[in-house]
Symmetry: C2
Subunit: 204 residues, 2 copies
């Protein structure tokens, strides 16, 4: 994604793959925060500068390891900027726009691969926890209790929307107009973010 | 499942697989309603009586083709029997009980396989439309407008719960007590079944 934008895709494809492979293992095993570009470069037997040259930042390298259909740091601030009111609808609308658009094919590939490959599961989890949740909670965080639990509930509904609408293609959800889906699922996401947490879920 | 219960699993494993294979293609291509045991037996080159002997009814044969983790016709009536009040919580509670229990492993296998195999996607869709939705709507149907759309919304949240809690294991949702999850997701499912459909989604 970032590579296409900046025109940096050039370079030896073997070297690129070596770096990606080293990065996948480093992120999956050590976690995104603790893995370093230096270690990844060492494992791939290249200079750290080359990793930066090919992929930009460590953030962008994580996106490249899973071929993420969108960059949460680009998409989320706009969604969250309007404040907590209506954020559920804006999030569902943006999610559908990505999946209905060219990013949808990459999202489907990612979801299909992730359920089958334990390494990729760990990477998607890192992506979700380090990038999506942290970015969103940084903006909304001060207003939310139980932030991480709320974030995983939102993720469960959005993952399920992807599965039902784009992978299993369950009708009539699969062919419904985007705004019809936003009208039904937007309030769910809004509720997960803002409804008081019932006493049974207080400690989660 | 039914076979384990009735002790009918015996018989030539090749013949069983031949029948399952023929059934998978028949259900996927013609749909559950239109496929017949007679056609399936013919394609598998066996006597129709043998299909009944191995698998029981056509319903049970469909469950066997996908190794379904539960039989909706056994589970759903109990959930729906209490009427529409609280049906969302009962459904989420039963869903978690299946996935937290021994059925969870089979559910995970099914979900992992279904996202990768188009034939299995069609079977899961048939299973969902012919068995889950019809069984549920038969009980609740008269009280619901937009039944099929509501059913796919419920499916989207339950599929997503399975993905987030059992496949990707996103924390803290993955380790949350069942009742904490019921308290948060039960009202969503209840809302999908009973909230008025907004004007944007009226035609779906």
């Amino acid at each position: 994604m970032s590579n296409r934008r900046t025109g940096r895709r050039r370079g030896n494809p073997d070297t690129r793959e070596q770096i990606l492979d080293a990065a996948r293992h480093a992120f999956a095993e050590r976690g995104f925060e603790r893995a370093t570009i230096r270690q990844i470069a060492q494992a791939a037997e290249v200079d750290p500068a080359l990793v930066h040259h090919y992929f930009g930042s460590k953030d962008q390298l994580l996106l490249a390891t899973i071929d993420a259909p969108f960059d949460p740091q680009e998409v989320l601030p706009g969604i969250v900027a309007g404040g907590i009111d209506g954020v559920g609808e804006r999030l569902v609308r943006a999610f559908i726009a990505v999946w209905d658009g060219p990013g949808g094919k990459r999202g489907a590939v990612l979801l299909r691969s992730a359920v089958a490959q334990p390494l990729l599961v760990r990477l998607v989890r890192e992506f979700f926890v380090s990038r999506v949740v942290k970015t969103a909670l940084k903006e909304l965080g001060s207003e939310l209790d139980n932030g991480p639990f709320r974030a995983t509930l939102v993720a469960s509904q959005l993952l399920g929307l992807a599965m039902a609408r784009y992978i299993l293609k369950l009708e009539p959800l699969a062919s419904a107009e985007p705004e019809a889906v936003v009208a039904m699922i937007g309030p769910t996401v809004q509720g997960y973010l803002t409804s008081p947490v019932p006493v049974e879920a207080r400690g989660v």
